[in-house]
């Protein structure tokens, strides 16, 4: 998995090496028809803000419209001591919300190690998924760096890094989610997941500072000619969150990276065949409508910083 983070650098080299003979074209292939599957997008956390579960149907791959929400479902999260009912947003079909307070949030998400079950009822069908809230780790600091000539970026760029140390004990998994000026960095190339302080279970980076590629929280910004831009300019701010995730969610996100981060060009030589990413949503009726998506509950730590020149 770590090779992914090395990819960007390799690609720059290979593009140089490709001697300008390669070419890419957007095409419009005929794709097989398929029955829609239920999409469950349920990533909850202990932040005191609206918790959202989105239900929709899968669309034909090349249909560039907003997905159709699934209305009229019941969405409930249960745990050993209670349950939370999500209610549909009247203005957004398929969006189900629960608005916690400091107290209710702490009640529901305040105990590390607690297990949760999501139950979604759509028509006569019931879908279930389970998750667990794991420990997260505090961010010590965020630093900006002036890159006079880093080959990945234009000369005189600014990059950002966060600093945190994975707690001792193998098997902590995290999703590092960053925001630039309040906008979430969610391009496939910006998805940043960690296993302890490294990339994989087999990697054995336990109890140390997060590895450099994981620490970097830089947007993948390009101008209209697809030339990279400086990730940050003076006046920009960055906000970093470390979400604890389950091992299943870590595997899921890694698969998402493999399937979605397709920079093209020579990187295609290193790409793997298209395959479906996993899901933890199951239909109680195995012969019923298929479901995709994921349910995860996270503990979150966060820190922000503004790039100011002294």
């Amino acid at each position: 998995m770590f090779i992914k983070s090395f990819h960007k650098q390799l690609i720059v080299l290979f593009v140089t090496a490709s001697l300008f003979y390669s070419c890419e074209e957007t095409i419009n292939p005929d794709l097989e028809d398929a029955d829609p599957k239920l999409v469950v997008d349920a990533w909850l956390n202990n932040k005191v803000e609206d918790q959202v579960v989105k239900l929709s149907w899968t669309q034909p791959y090349l249909e560039n419209t907003l997905p159709t929400g699934v209305s009229g479902a019941t969405v409930v999260v249960t745990y050993d001591g209670g349950e939370v009912i999500f209610t549909e947003d009247a203005n957004a079909a398929g969006t189900y919300r629960w608005t916690p307070t400091d107290v209710t949030s702490a009640d529901v998400f305040g105990t590390i190690g607690r297990n949760y079950k999501l139950t979604v009822q759509v028509g006569a069908e019931t879908f279930e998924a389970t998750s667990r809230i794991n420990r997260t780790v505090a961010i010590d600091s965020i630093t900006f760096e002036f890159e006079e000539s880093d080959p990945q970026y234009p000369d005189n760029s600014y990059t950002a890094e966060f600093w945190a140390t994975d707690p001792v004990g193998k098997g902590d998994t995290y999703w590092i989610r960053s925001y630039k000026n309040g906008v979430a960095l969610l391009k496939p190339s910006e998805i940043n997941v960690a296993y302890d302080a490294g990339f994989t279970a087999g990697g054995n980076f336990d109890g140390v500072t997060f590895l450099p590629p994981l620490r970097s929280v830089n947007p993948d910004e390009e101008d209209e000619n697809d030339e990279p831009l400086s990730p940050y300019e003076p006046g920009d701010s960055v906000y970093v969150e470390i979400h604890s995730i389950t091992l299943e969610a870590y595997n899921f996100l890694n698969q998402v990276i493999i399937q979605t981060d397709r920079p093209g060009g020579f990187a295609e030589l290193f790409s793997t065949p298209l395959a479906n990413v996993s899901t933890n949503i199951t239909n109680l009726d195995p012969n019923g409508t298929k479901a995709v998506g994921f349910f995860n509950v996270s503990a979150v730590s966060g820190m922000g910083k503004k790039l100011e020149l002294e």
Binding site: E32, A34, G202, T272
Partner: protein, 797 residues
Amino acid sequence: MILRLPTFIIVLGMLLSQQAWSQSRYTLSGYIKDASNGEVLVGATVYIKEIGKGATSNVYGFYSITVPAASYTVEYTFVGYQKIEKQITLDKDVRENIELPSDSEQLQEVVVIAEDEQTSKVQTVEMSTAKLDIKTIQKIPAFLGEVDVIKSLQLLPGVSTVGEGASGFNVRGGSVGQNLVLQDEAPVYNSSHMLGFFSAFNPDAVKDTKLYKGAVPSRYGGRLSSILDIRMKDGNSKDYETTGGIGTIFSRLSFEGPIVKDKGSFIVSGRRSYIDILARPFVDILKDGGALNFYDLTAKANYSLNDKNRVYLSGYFGRDNFYFDDNQGFNWGNATATVRWNHLFNEKLFSNITGVYSSYKYELQFGDDARNRFNWNSSISNFIFKPEFSYFVNSNNEINFGAEAIYYFFEPANAKGISNGQPTDISLDKRYNLETAIYINNNLTINDTWAVEYGIRYSNFQYFGPGTIYTYNDTIPGKRKTVATETKYKRGKSIVDYGNFEPRLSVKASLSESSSVKASYNRMVQYLHLISNTTASNPLDVWTPSSNNIKPEIADQYTLGYFRSIGASKQWEASVEGYYRETQNQIDYIDGADLLINEYLEGDLLSGKGRAYGLEFYVQKKKGRLNGWISYTLGRTELKVDGINNNKWYAARYDQTHNVKVAAFYDISKRWSVSADFVFVTGTPTTFPTSRYVMQGILIPDNASGSRNNVRLPNYHRLDLSFRLEGREYSRKGKERKNRDYWVFSVYNVYARKNAFSTYFSQSNERVAAGQPLQSEATQLSIIGSMVPAISYNFKF
């Protein structure tokens, strides 16, 4: 059984030699060489006219033929050389070393199969092989004008590639890792430079190549689908000679000459690419210690100690460097060294003992500074000892036997990360393996109609400690397996021990002087596995040995063929071959497999079955101003793996239904010649999604039925052309020039077709405002999307 096999060999040998002693027979033997430079000729023919018996020289140029005492007219022939006829009286064993003058007077150069009439493809028992000599390879138009051994092979029936830039080649539906590439007996684990754009072999140092796609003799083993045997030049044993060339990518230089005239010679060849030097002023990233280059160095020496002993030393070192700056980048390459000793026990018993060291290594590093960096290297090294014997019983009967021991040393990952000054070592256990084999092979001509070649190989593979062995729970097919047990083994303790018999059989029945039918069966066993789940094989792929979790791969192949020569002088040759191969324990990967630096790699591997079958048609015109060949392969390659494609058979990535290759060579005048090749291949299988969904703002593709390789890319076709202009043979004053030179002007992909390498699906790279739909798109990538002209200048003095 292991102990009994050598006994069997000895008894068999004695029986056969008894038969030989019962008549008054004598042996004619010796070496056949090129008169101009002393290079031994491989596959040259010795033919005794009176009795219609013949023999061919082996890879060391040695021949031996035993016939009843008499006076004979003996013909020595080799394609492209003048025939030599000799009167020889065999009233005792006779040693006759022959030097054939090359046939430079004639305009046409003979292409590919260098056998002569008496032992043409039609009349030998051998099938499913292809031989390309370097003269032919040099004529084939190549990418950027670089003469390329591997790319040339891809014009032969049954040989293919998944696309430009992919390392290696595929034979009869086998994967890249199922080919054994030998360079002077040393295995080469990655045969490519610059990903897969150029092959690792310097054409100036190559003498000839032979590819076994089936009916593999028992002296070879270790890979399922093919053996590519590349022989390096010995070097000119008569005169000093310098050859070289300046091309678009590489510059090449070779120097060769006698150590002691006619007794020994050497050759040293080097190549280096120089795009980075040319590009440096224009490309930003190459400024501060950046590098983008590849080079290789080949050296070889041989010396005849006396009439009965000759030693060879050869070595190869190749490396690719891709660096941004001094701290970041990667490199990879092969290194090999071979020592060989040819010894003649007597006129009938030829032996060769080989010792080999070979390794493949790659290394990556990245990071900002000494407190934050990551280093990783991975390697496979081996030491080989291989004694081999050829016993020429009589002109109809040859026995080959021998043994092989290979000690492997794997370093899957030496990896060290320093994060904020804290070092962490995440290296994986090294692995130690021993592969051994013994074999015997008998090539027997029964009468004018029937000939058989049969043999058996017994191979054994051992995995030794120290090491940690995991067993895995088989939970859900196709999902990552979880560790069940962990066992530590001490140094030298045997962890696994596999043994396999590999029977081989080929039969030929001549229908007439110009046609024959052949059939073969062989079993091949492969103990090393190339771990690669990417679209194309690439330099970071890791070789891994068989273990408690990875069983040896086994293939059984059956072939049937019809061979025919056409025309009064047999200038045409045609063949049809059918093959069917079944494989067991073929490796596949779970979706999202993590293959690099993963201690639990084996939990991400799946094992399945494979089948490949096809028909290969081949027509070749061997002589004349216009010569060349047409090949057509109709084939199918499928895999069946639990957990992939709903456990149903699916087409492998390298499955190509139709594969047409045309290579044509034409001499326009004494100085100008033109070569062309045309390729048409059915698009390779790939997987397209059906649906999309959005999760946390990320657009994810989905194939609703979960199938693999459900569609095909567009068909691939391409035409290449190359013109060669020979330099003048005579100077203005009419003197013959000592220096020879020629220019090659080539165009790759003449009609600039944008052949698809892959189609990928992704969300567009723009950031989408809240409430707006994500944009999905399909992109078709052509690695070579335009016509590529090139020019090279080559010289010799």
